[in-house]
Symmetry: C2
Subunit: 107 residues, 2 copies
Amino acid sequence: MNDLEKRRSEGRAAILKALAHPSRVLIVEKLSAKPYCVCELTAMVGADTSTVSKHLSILRNAGIVSDSKQGTSVYYSLEAPCLLRLLDCVESVIQQNLQRQLSYLKA
Amino acid sequence: MNDLEKRRSEGRAAILKALAHPSRVLIVEKLSAKPYCVCELTAMVGADTSTVSKHLSILRNAGIVSDSKQGTSVYYSLEAPCLLRLLDCVESVIQQNLQRQLSYLKA
DNA sequence: TTGTTATTTGGCAATATGGCCAATATTTGA
DNA sequence: TCAAATATTGGCCATATTGCCAAATAACAA
């Protein structure tokens, strides 16, 4: 792995890592419909506000979401629209795995 | 987050987690061209054989790659073709972040 | 059988991640 | 100004991840 490849892989892995948590996946899916504030997302995720806030800051640092303050609330929006197709691909891997398991059961 | 949503997010995050490591991203990119054995991938990644073997087992457990033994070697192949488009999306997020940083510099 | 090559597995130490609580802004409205 | 509501940050602990070494396993050839 040369230096260029190494930096490329590290950059890509960093984005994937930012997505790779159940709560963060859920947040991205919810934000694909419309922006939500932290308190709304907190209710959806079902964790402490501070925990959700930290998840959001991870997504923001990765450039996946953006925030804008309105009154005392902070609203988050999805920045990268292609992420939904990305999740579709992930879903197809899951479906393929299920198919495989089914065919093992039959055999 | 109800139970269905919870399980869905966990499943998707598990796949993303399997991808979210520089060496594993590199492996997926290399395997998109053609299958390689562990020793070839070990050379590409530049880590201990045992380390690469463990990375491959993580990818295999996620259904992202499959393996087939040929002699004393084990060849790994990419199972999910859409993963390349997934990486393209990740790349576009990176490019978008760069654009943003550039426009900050200009301002 | 014995040795060689290729791979996997177990074990361990270092580091990273995740979650809650408590403390600290920040904005708004009484 | 003071209190209330919303978010973020710091601290701490439990758990997970990663990478190397050493040991075990598997296939093959002499």
